[in-house]
Amino acid sequence: MAAGTVMFAVSVLLLFAVVVFKWANGRRLAARQKRRVTYLKLLSQHVAAPGSTAEISIKEADDDAFIDALIDIRHALSSSSIDSLDGVIDRSGLIRHQAKRLRSRFPLGRRLRAVVSLAEIGDPGAARILMHHLKDRVPEIRVQSARGLARMRHTAAIDVILDRFHDETRWVQTRFAETLALFGRDAVWPLIAWIRVNHNYQGDGGVTEIIRILGIIGDSEVGPALAELLYTAEDPEVRIAIIETLGIIGGPLALRPLRRMIQSADWRIRAKAATAFSKIGDPSINPILREGLGDQSWWMRRNSAAALASLPGGIDLLYEAIGAPDQFTRDAAAEALADCGELIAARDRLESGKSDPRDAQLISYMHIPDPVTS
């Protein structure tokens, strides 16, 4: 009985504490939102009328609502319009304040908030502190530091990030790779240099992530340099990553190394090369893809057929392949024609009386009743 009473009393107290906490937190958030709106107006005055005398004091630098407002205004404006905000950031001592929070050992939440604020604000004044924290003991802080440096296009960080790659976990490597993409063309040749040195690195070195970033950046000038690595890369995963990237940025200069890859003993490499051809879009490769329709690997047959469906003159070759002696070739060609809408188009032509013999051949191969004679 006494235990029950105690339990009941404790439950009531806990419930009361939760209600009070929620009420207090609600008030705190409402007050913060109110301050944020005030700061938005203040910062807007500084942007709309540079040289505004509206005061921003050093205590604002400590207020998270001010930082939120500053970040929101920065996101609304293009980079050439935010010069007036630089003065605000300097006068409030915001960078100094957030750097101090970042340098503290605890609490981690405050440190994380400081690094995210510095990354989002993207002020070049924070570059030094973010460079230092690329080596922080906390992985998320390293990642956010890299992101901030990429947002401010601080290119000195590229080599530091690449140097750290092998020592990082897969998760951090992925985030670092995404960050390197933010540097854009500035990162391209450092990435190529790194890939040249590390493309045969033993172990999980993140090489494939870095190679794919070149595809995201999309600078076709590195196509030949990347294509060379196909001859020296030993790991099939690295070759696959290079082939995929060449499909995006390689252009016609990538055709020769890719032709070699389509003869590879590894079916994955052959299949990826077929897909890369379709992305490059050069119809001179059609005969090779036609041969690929008879490959022993289903993926190679499928990718070759899909590539032919997207290349000039490829549809004609697929129709021809429906009459091939080998069933695998016929199936691959017919499925690709169906996938690209030719089957529906053939039925429509047949129904409207404008078909040709290949329409009937395709329809009968796919075992669909002839809509005219049925």
Binding site: V37, L40, K41, S44, Q45, V47, A48, A49, A69, D72, I73, H75, A76, L77, S78, S80, S81
Partner: protein, 128 residues
């Protein structure tokens, strides 16, 4: 359509419609400093209703808002014979969105994030 009220007070009235508070606050501040009267709509439905009052000389509308899209608002206004210059704002860099906005009746199109002086210049030009 000339706004009788703005003729009386001499101030042009501008409707700003965007669901992002930072954008509306920035534009309101900049436009008021430049001497315009500004009314804000936080969603598409409110923007459409305010536009039908005929009290505005120009509207700056975000393409993507809760309620109605910017292009939908323009189409409705056109259907009701509301002839007001509209500048479309959008964060989407897509030719279809740009063309769709201009085809729907927008007189100008500005990408977000925008350059504030450029946007102000376009507003002045389209009001003159």
């Amino acid at each position: 359509m000339q706004n009788e009220e703005s003729n009386k007070s001499g101030l042009k009235r501008i409707l700003v419609a965007d669901d992002v508070e930072a954008v509306t606050t920035l534009l309101v501040t900049a436009l008021e400093i430049a001497g315009y009267e500004v009314v804000v709509a936080e969603n598409g439905q409110k923007a459409y209703e305010l536009g039908t009052t005929g009290e505005f000389d120009l509207a700056v509308i975000d393409q993507l808002m809760p309620g109605l899209l910017g292009t939908e608002i323009l189409q409705r206004w056109q259907g009701e014979g509301i002839d007001m210059p509209v500048i479309m704002l959008s964060g989407v860099e897509d030719d279809d969105v740009v063309v769709g906005s201009l085809d729907s009746g927008a007189i100008d199109y500005v990408h977000k994030p925008f350059r504030l002086p450029e946007l102000m210049a376009r507003i002045r030009k389209n009001l003159s």
